[in-house]
Amino acid sequence: MNKNDIFAIIAKHAQEVVPSLESHVFAQDDALRDLGANSIDRAEITMMTLETLALRIPLTELAGAQNMGELAALIHSRMAASVV
């Protein structure tokens, strides 16, 4: 699982939570807030992503991500850290 795979999962869940993004072409520097996701939407998208990956990371640890690319990178780095 690489960062791009994680990015694609975030994008898929973003489209579920914000249906108007159905035909949106996502970019690494896309900010979910700017794409119409409010704070609860963003928490949902992140949690759905973590559930898909079966990864327990407190949402507060991911709050610093400024855009989808950074979120994917943060999650990827936590995944790598959890593999012994």
């Binding site: 579920e16 249906p19 108007s20 928490a43 949902e44 949690m47 973590l50 559930e51 327990r56």
Partner: protein, 413 residues
């Protein structure tokens, strides 16, 4: 004081969605009972055990909800089944009453009922028991009954006020009574009353069965015969999914075109029995019948038609008929809407108000399903066939667990 009138109706039920379909099915007595199929309504549920050879739960379910295209998918994604049905049903009533022409600050919303999401709650617990961390964050606001208020006020731009009102199986009618009060006192010009769908899980169905409130033991294998209010062979209520919406306003404040008046809310009463238990009270029921008549300025013999609570409760049906007789209503026509629709619990009171209104509008009274041996055959039952009848004055009753009683008179020119 100006009349309070009902100017819009919306209804979704197992027998039909929308006023036209509901009315047609009601007048035909076309019920829709069967084994309950919605996920979460039968044992086993996740790791909870099955019940051996106990019979499955029976009832009536909405087969396919038509969701108006105008309602946005984003909002509906996290909406409970009850909220979705409420939104679709309110959409019908909203357009029926032409409410887009009313200032949003002058519209209120009272949602009758509580515990709207029991089934989805049970399923959620089952799904996340082993992994609670992944519980969706939106649960933190969606679990509340008031999410239905939030959803409906957002979808329809309502800005006056909104809240839920719990009165058990009298919730629907109580919501209408509260809507009447809100308009009468001038808090709003239009008040929408919703009787929300109470989405039961196998947990509630199990307890209703165990306490002897819900049938059917006798007709477990013949669901279409199981729901039999006021019949000698009845053995408890049968659940039926439903949701109803009515729009209440003051006749003298209507300043938009194209509005039809279904009926006047003639008078009402509510009373509580100082009794926590589910048993009914003759005194409480008589109090509200007489109170509603007094408030409407009507004598008992002026009532053409009674729409009773009539759940098929062994004790409840007897008590209710005794109350009607003692209040001098023995001469009015009588049927049992729940025999066709099933018991919608929080929605029942409003669905039955709607049933009364459509019967007044069509000039026909619907049959009572499975009324083969009425427990009191001296009354004026509408039995197997619909009956032509011009109803000018009607009375409808709703009774809820915990000693809650209400009655409402509806008048039509």
């Amino acid at each position: 004081m100006s009349e309070l009138v009902i100017t819009g109706i919306g209804v979704s039920s197992a027998i039909g969605q929308g006023q036209a379909a509901f009315t047609a099915a009601l007048l035909q007595g076309a019920s829709a009972f069967g084994v309950l199929k919605r996920p979460g309504r039968q044992w086993p549920l996740a790791d909870a055990a099955g019940l051996g050879d106990a019979k499955p739960f029976i009832g009536a379910e909405i087969s396919a909800l038509q969701m108006p295209d105008a309602l946005p998918r984003k909002a509906l994604r996290t909406a409970s089944w009850s909220s979705q049905v409420a939104a679709a049903t309110l959409h019908e009533a909203w357009h029926d009453a032409g409410l887009s022409q009313v200032s949003p600050e002058r519209i209120g919303l009272v949602v009758g009922g509580s515990n709207f999401q029991q089934r989805e709650l049970a399923q959620l617990h089952a799904a996340y028991r082993g992994q609670p961390f992944f519980l969706k964050p939106s649960y933190g606001h969606v679990f509340m009954d008031t999410d239905l208020c939030g959803l409906c006020t957002e979808l329809f731009g309502i800005r006056g006020f909104a809240y839920t009102l719990g009165a058990a199986s009298a919730s629907g009618q109580m919501a209408v009574l509260q809507a009447m009060d809100a308009v009468r006192c001038g808090r709003v010009d239009v008040c929408i009353a919703v009787g929300a769908l109470m989405d039961l899980s196998c947990w509630e169905l199990q307890a209703f069965r165990s306490m002897g409130a819900m049938g059917s033991e006798r007709f477990a294998d013949q669901p279409e015969q199981a729901c039999r209010p006021f019949d000698a062979q009845r053995d408890g209520f049968i659940y039926g999914e439903s949701c109803g919406v009515v729009v209440v306003e003051r006749a003298d404040r209507i300043n938009r075109s194209g509005v039809s008046v279904y009926a006047q809310c003639g008078g009402s009463a509510m009373a509580v029995d100082a009794n926590r238990n589910p048993n009914p009270s003759l005194e409480g029921e008589m109090t509200v019948i007489q109170g509603a008549l007094r408030s409407a300025g009507l004598a008992a013999d002026q009532i053409d038609y009674v729409n009773p609570h009539g759940t098929a409760s062994l004790v409840g049906d007897e008590i209710e008929l005794a109350a009607l007789r003692r209040c001098g209503l023995g001469g009015a026509y009588l049927n049992a809407t729940k025999s066709v629709t099933g018991h919608g619990l929080s929605a029942a009171g409003i669905v039955e108000i709607i049933a009364t209104l459509v019967q007044m509008k069509t000039g026909r009274l619907h049959p009572t399903c499975n009324l083969q041996v009425p427990i009191d055959d001296t009354l004026n039952w509408v039995k197997n066939e619909a009956l032509d009848c011009k109803v000018r004055h009607a009375l409808t009753m709703s009774i809820g667990f915990g000693g809650i009683n209400s009655a409402l008179c509806l008048l039509r020119a």
